[in-house]
């Protein structure tokens, strides 16, 4: 869900890649991975090749929609793809990914039971997937700009980005929301005291009403531009994914310390999301995929990945090995109390998904 790239990739490149990817069938000893952009330390891939002799072809995408459209079309030529939690049940029902042979994954015992419990709703027993990274959805904000406009207000609640009276004071400095209907509705339903996995259309309508009242104050709906916009000081607050917001914070610090950002998981609770490794049914080289999965299950390897991405992993044994500034940040590794307020979402039935997306279009365009 590290939605970093640009969505246009889907238009121009997506269709082409559908065709091209099918040409790139892997021979023996080549592993084709399809993962989110900017989401792995390249050195990890090099070390994997050095150790196993398996060549890695690593391609990236920037939205779950693009990934799912390709995988459901089949013949992608990829051995490992990394969808997010709420997409996984659809892959399973469509028969697009294969159940894992756990005897080939010796490192599974390193996983963190408390975190794995959150995977139950979308992949019971983790039969199809191995978690890569997980994180939260929250609020990234410019400390100085907000303090000037809302003096004395502690930013710890969704009120700040959902209540029109707050937003009215922030409109001039720029508010971004995620352009991800399922994620936005999940946090909004929870904020309104409803079930974030609700299947009742009325609940979504209530959330839409709330969104529409806030809509005039939202500058843009985008899932990746907020990193750059926050770091540059172009906007002052955004609903975003934990790693993205923290990345914006470190970019701003690197760029001369003029913009001071922070990220918070609101007290009302938020969504915890997972990006998980899965093996497509028609993977050309599943043996190499298993080798890579087992490699990534080693605590020292996944710890290095977390240090690089600033996202938490689900490997209990790795936590101590992650860089202290990532590990000790409660916005990356939430405290046990915070964990209790988090929830996870699962796939929606097709008609409900359609209706929810239709409402989301109405929120964005007024149509």
């Amino acid at each position: 869900m590290a939605d970093w790239g640009k969505r246009l990739g889907t238009a121009a490149v997506g269709m082409m890649a559908l065709v091209l990817a099918s040409c790139g069938q892997g021979g023996p000893g080549t592993l084709h991975i399809y993962n989110w952009s900017d989401y792995i330390d390249p050195a990890i891939l090099k070390d994997f090749t050095k150790e196993t002799g398996v060549k890695v072809v690593y391609d990236t995408f920037d939205s779950n929609e693009v990934l799912e459209t390709k995988v459901l079309q089949g013949n992608t030529g990829y051995d490992l793809v990394v969808p997010s939690n709420h997409n996984v049940p659809r892959y399973i029902t469509a028969g697009a990914i294969q159940p894992l042979d756990k005897s080939k994954l010796t490192g599974l015992s390193n996983l963190w039971p408390d975190i794995m419990a959150y995977m139950e709703p979308f992949d019971p027993g983790a039969k199809y997937s191995v978690p890569y990274m997980w994180g939260t959805i929250g609020i990234g904000y410019n400390k100085d700009a907000i303090a000037k406009r809302l003096p004395g207000v502690t930013i710890d609640s969704w009120d700040i980005v959902f209540k029109p009276e707050n937003l009215a004071k922030l409109k001039d400095c720029g508010v971004y929301w995620l352009d991800a209907s399922e994620d936005m509705y999940a946090v909004a339903l929870n904020y309104l005291g409803k079930n974030p996995n609700s299947t009742a259309l009325e609940d979504y309508q209530a959330a839409t009403e709330m969104f529409l009242k806030a809509r005039p104050y939202i500058r843009k709906f985008h899932s990746s531009e907020s990193i750059e916009a926050l770091a540059n000081g172009d906007i002052c607050i955004a609903v975003g994914y934990s790693g993205d917001m923290l990345q914006a914070k470190s970019r701003a610090a690197e760029a001369g310390d003029k913009v001071h950002l922070d990220y918070v998981v609101p007290k009302e609770g938020s969504q915890v999301w997972f990006d998980v490794f899965t093996i497509p049914k028609d993977a050309p080289n599943p043996a190499a995929a298993y080798k890579f999965l087992d490699y990534m299950l080693r605590p020292e390897v996944i710890a290095r990945a977390s240090t690089f991405t600033e996202y938490a992993n689900a490997n209990k044994a790795a936590t101590a090995l992650v860089a202290p500034d990532v590990r000790d940040n409660p916005n990356v590794y939430p405290t046990p109390d915070q964990l209790l307020t988090l929830f996870v979402t699962s796939s929606k039935a097709q008609p409900l998904l359609r209706d929810v997306n239709r409402q989301w279009t109405r929120v964005q365009t007024g149509q």
């Binding site: 640009k6 969505r7 246009l8 889907t10 238009a11 121009a12 997506g14 939205s63 929609e65 693009v66 799912e68 459209t69 459901l72 079309q73 089949g74 659809r90 029902t93 469509a94 028969g95 697009a96 720029g174 352009d179 209907s181 939202i218 500058r219 843009k220 709906f221 985008h222 540059n232 000081g233 172009d234 049914k281 097709q350 998904l353 359609r354 997306n357 239709r358 279009t361 109405r362 964005q364 365009t365 007024g366 149509q367």
Partner: protein
């Protein structure tokens, strides 16, 4: 009128090309638009069951229906986004004509050697990727961008253009200008200058000569340029997505949402077919007018 000289296979080439790269994909999309969504690989149904032979093919055709099209008419979103796309394309085409005509006219009045250089200059932007050129506009238009830096140096108020419809117009006009200038130039360059001398001899002022001689003779270029710009602009996706706001409504984005967010391939196909069907009308009208002009010229 006698038949043209036979050129054998060469005459077939355009038809072969159209058949493989237009008709076949068109039929695929048309078929998809009559299907239903399904949670399967690929995500639509029905699919032909070849093992069942004829019965399988018949069952396939029986399962196709127009339900998706009916759904398009029930939701005002599609009409609204269609009209909004037409509006964007029409206004941008108008602006392109106003800007492109003087450019093409000016170019055609230079000496032949200079004309070649100017022609190269018009084509030059194509040497850079379309995507990069559109991205460059983000850097120009964003709040802290080049435009506002420039304005503030003269003490002028800042403009917030990025993510507005104005930005979409700027992007459209910028990106499609060569497609307007080139056909206009091709027509204007070929015009016989002695016609203007004749007009002057008969007492026309230069303005009158332009409107009575030059402009009417350049109409085929105006038509070709307008069509070359208008049609792709209706379905434009990249420019509204990068420069437009979340409220910018265009068909390209609507199709994106259907295809990717809703995983509704039939609806995406139906929107595309509906767009194509209506865009055929201006092309046919243009063709007719062209034929008429050619016949009148005989």
């Amino acid at each position: 009128m006698k038949g043209r000289p036979r050129t054998g296979l060469a005459a077939l080439a355009p038809f072969l090309w159209l058949g493989v790269f237009f008709l076949f994909p068109f039929l695929l999309v048309a078929k998809l638009s009559l299907s239903d969504t399904a949670l399967a690989m690929p995500p639509y149904a029905p699919r032909v069951d070849w093992s069942a032979g004829w019965a399988g093919v018949r069952a396939f055709f029986a399962a196709l229906d127009f339900e998706t099209y009916a759904r398009l008419t029930r939701d005002s979103l599609y009409i609204a986004s269609y009209l909004s796309s037409l509006m964007f394309a029409a206004v941008a085409t108008g602006i392109l004509l106003v800007i492109g005509y003087p450019i093409a006219y000016g170019m055609s009045r230079f000496a032949a050697s200079t004309r070649q250089a100017l022609l190269m200059a018009v084509i030059l932007p194509f040497w850079t990727s379309f995507l990069i050129r559109v991205y460059a506009w983000i850097a120009v238009l964003k709040p802290e961008g080049l435009l506002n830096t420039f304005l503030s140096q003269f003490g002028l108020p800042e403009l917030n253009l990025l993510n507005t419809d104005t930005a979409v117009y700027i992007g459209l006009v910028y990106a499609y200008l060569p497609f307007m200038v080139l056909p206009l130039y091709a027509v204007l360059e070929k015009q016989d200058q002695s016609l203007l001398e004749a007009a002057a001899d008969l007492g026309c002022t230069r303005t009158q000569a332009f409107w009575r001689v030059t402009f009417p003779l350049s109409l085929p270029g105006v038509g070709a340029g307008a069509l070359l710009c208008f049609i792709p602009m209706v379905g434009e996706f990249v420019i509204p997505d990068l420069l437009g706001g979340s409220g910018t409504l265009m068909l390209g984005k609507t199709i994106w949402t259907e295809f990717f967010a809703n995983r509704d391939w039939p609806a995406a196909s139906a929107v595309a077919i509906a767009m194509l069907a209506t865009l055929v009308i201006p092309i046919v009208l243009y063709q007719r007018q062209q034929t008429k002009m050619i016949e009148a010229g005989r």
